[in-house]
């Protein structure tokens, strides 16, 4: 209880409250501009959070990302361009509502169900994370090894559309993680005689490159410019929302639950949660024929899902140090920088910091209602700011931010290489999320593999002997071999039919 009181004290300080408010405005702005994603917002925040104490640093990321995911709905409805990839699933639906003269319904449902979904995700986080941490305290290297493997497996086989390319992305990430001295033998790997490479590839400039610089390059290479679909002042965006809650309670709960679950799966975040929820909403709808004509039901369900995914993604990140999505991959880097090393001991040693994160999460959802409403009011002005002016300024921010982490130009070089790599990966259909997971978890994988190997004295069967490790291992192998098994079954069926 003392820890909860301390946590309230940590959050409700003028400095932290101002940071939260500024981050909220920043998140809304970034989310509302097409081409600037919530992950990019996080990556750009990191150089600034570098200079803050732990609680405001994490608070700024939590607030900015929650706001950005909602704000992505604004240009979806007005320009038919998702502000962030998490809104892409229902962009057409929202835009068609606007075309029908119901922009208020599109934007209002986006806002209200983002808040409700977000609160659902946070409540699950608050209940599940400490409970999981209790269990995780008993974990040995065997469980951690399989958890990391399961994380990789989810990112490649469940989150991605092309597992083969997902594996390549993951291997590239693991290769990046190999660089430096941090390996079981303490030998320099791929350091090329460079002193800075002995410490490994710096994580933050890498993330800034992969999530921000790549977006700037992508913007520069596309030509299309959208047109605004509304030319009148907005009415009351909250009108009829209570009616929607009463009409679609199941959709709200289903979207929020699926979003939280998908968020908690490593490698899959708000965007995948949103697509899956939209599909599910259409499948179980009583009026599936209305989908794609400007129908609000899909927005209710997937709007709730993408915000609940944010909270879900923090569960494995805080408890095991395994990121649930790209945002938490960056967050884990920040937590290490701030001495809040993720893992079950964080809940024992620093519970006040964890409770402070939970409080900020709830606060961000509550703040989203008034601030989101204000963002909608000024949306047309925000969207008039030409991206061709913003992008170069963002690039300058990336360059200086990457430099600021170690006050070294090496960070800028890493940023540029990572940005160009991510740009081409996206163009060639290779997902970036598994790469990030490989980079973040590569060292952890190697460390736990070798400790397990020494304990097992070279006998691989020991990896399956402990009950949880065995279950996780079996689950991992099951996901690996399921496609093969399905193919064999299909072939047998075809042969039988012939």
């Amino acid at each position: 209880m003392d820890a909860v009181v301390t946590a309230f004290g940590l959050v409700f300080q003028p400095y932290v409250v101002v940071v939260i408010l500024l981050s909220a405005i920043y998140g809304l702005f970034v989310g509302a501009i097409p081409g600037l994603t919530a992950t990019m917002a996080t990556a750009l925040l990191v150089p600034v959070t570098f200079f803050m104490p732990p609680v405001p640093a994490v608070a700024s990321i939590v607030t900015a990302t929650a706001m950005a995911i909602f704000a992505g709905d604004i240009p979806s409805a007005l320009l038919r361009m998702p502000g962030t990839p998490a809104s892409a699933a229902y962009t057409d639906e929202a835009f068609l509502l606007t075309k029908k003269g119901q922009a208020e319904l599109a934007l209002g449902s986006g806002l209200v169900f983002s808040v409700l979904g977000g609160i659902f995700g946070v409540l699950v986080l608050i209940v599940a994370a400490p409970a999981l941490a209790e269990v995780a305290l008993k974990f040995s290297s065997f469980e951690y090894f399989w958890l990391v493997m399961l994380g990789f497996t989810c990112a490649v086989f469940i989150a991605g559309s092309d597992p083969l390319k997902g594996v390549v992305s993951l291997l590239l990430g693991l290769l990046v993680a190999c660089v430096g001295l941090e390996n079981p033998a303490g030998a320099p790997r791929y350091t090329l005689g460079n002193a800075e490479l002995t410490g490994g590839i710096p994580m933050i400039p890498l993330m800034i490159g992969m999530f921000a610089v790549s977006e700037v390059l992508r913007f520069a290479s596309t030509v299309d410019k959208p047109a605004m679909a509304i030319d009148r002042p907005f009415g009351n965006v909250f009108a009829g929302m209570w009616g929607l809650v009463k009409k679609y309670p199941l959709q709200l709960i289903r979207g929020s639950a699926l979003g939280t679950l998908v968020g908690a799966l490593p490698g899959a975040g708000a965007d995948i949660a949103s697509w899956m929820s939209y599909g599910m909403s259409k499948k179980f709808s009583k009026e599936p024929e209305k989908f794609g004509t400007g129908h609000v039901e899909g927005i209710v369900e997937s709007g709730a899902a993408n915000n609940s995914a944010l909270g879900g993604a923090w569960i494995p990140a805080l408890v095991f140090g395994i990121p649930g999505d790209s945002i938490t991959a960056i967050v884990i880097g920040v937590l290490y920088l701030k001495g809040m090393n993720p893992g079950p001991t964080l809940f024992v040693q620093n519970p006040q910091n964890i409770y402070a994160v939970f409080i900020v999460f709830i606060l961000a959802q509550i703040l989203m209602l008034p601030l989101g409403w204000m963002a909608i009011k000024v949306a047309k002005q925000i969207l008039r700011i030409p991206a061709s002016v913003l992008m170069p300024l963002i690039l300058l921010f990336c360059v200086v931010g990457s430099f600021a982490i170690n006050n070294s130009m090496f960070g800028v070089i890493v940023m540029l290489v990572a940005g160009v790599l991510a740009f081409f990966m996206e163009r060639w259909g290779f997902p970036v999320a598994p790469t990030i997971l490989g980079v973040v978890l590569g060292t952890m994988l190697e460390e736990h593999f070798f400790s397990s190997l020494i304990k097992a004295d070279g006998n691989f069967l020991v990896f399956f002997e402990r009950p949880i490790a065995g279950t996780l291992g079996a689950l991992t192998l099951l996901i690996w071999f399921a496609p093969l098994w399905r193919r064999v079954l299909r072939r047998q069926r075809v042969e039988a039919a012939a």
Binding site: F51, P184, A185, T222, P386, S388, N407, L416
Partner: protein
């Protein structure tokens, strides 16, 4: 995409072979058969296998050619992207010598012009943006941005 996949496959195969070859030279953990070369070996072998699978798949898919590639159908031009990359390279090479306050606006103007922003607006945004970033990072966050030629005056 199939042709790209094949080319990427060749690149990945070469990378995989290089990683495999390099992994041989890493020492093992004392008392263990495996060591620092184990993970690179897995990565190298994995890349090689994936490259082969990618090439095989693209060759098979080429038989069903005709589908329009989404990435190729999008309207794109890479001139501006190249200017951006070149500008960052110039910044990396010359920022220490020339100084942030000089090189940042020059780089910004180059990118603004590549993105077809009017010259007058470009100059205004470049100078304004540089000053804001300088104040935020140098003054407030105390990041030692390079002074370059202005060092004697500062």
């Amino acid at each position: 995409m199939q042709r790209t996949d094949r080319r990427v496959g060749i690149g990945l195969a070469l990378l995989g072979l290089t990683v495999l070859w390099s992994a041989r030279s890493f020492p093992s953990v004392p008392g263990q058969k495996l060591g620092a070369g184990f993970l690179p070996m897995i990565v190298g072998a994995g890349l090689l296998l994936c490259a082969l699978a990618l090439a095989a798949r693209s060759l098979r898919a080429a038989a069903y050619a005709g589908a329009v590639d989404a990435a190729e159908a999008r309207r794109e031009h890479f001139g501006s992207s190249l200017v951006i990359i070149a500008t960052v390279v110039v910044y990396i090479l010359f920022a220490e010598r020339v100084g942030f306050l000089f090189i940042a606006p020059v780089c910004l103007v180059a990118i603004f012009l590549a993105l077809r922003v009017k010259l007058s607006h470009a100059l205004l945004w470049a100078i304004g943006g540089t000053l804001i970033v300088h104040v935020a990072f140098y003054k407030l966050l105390r990041v030692p941005l390079p002074w370059g030629v202005l060092r004697p005056l500062y």
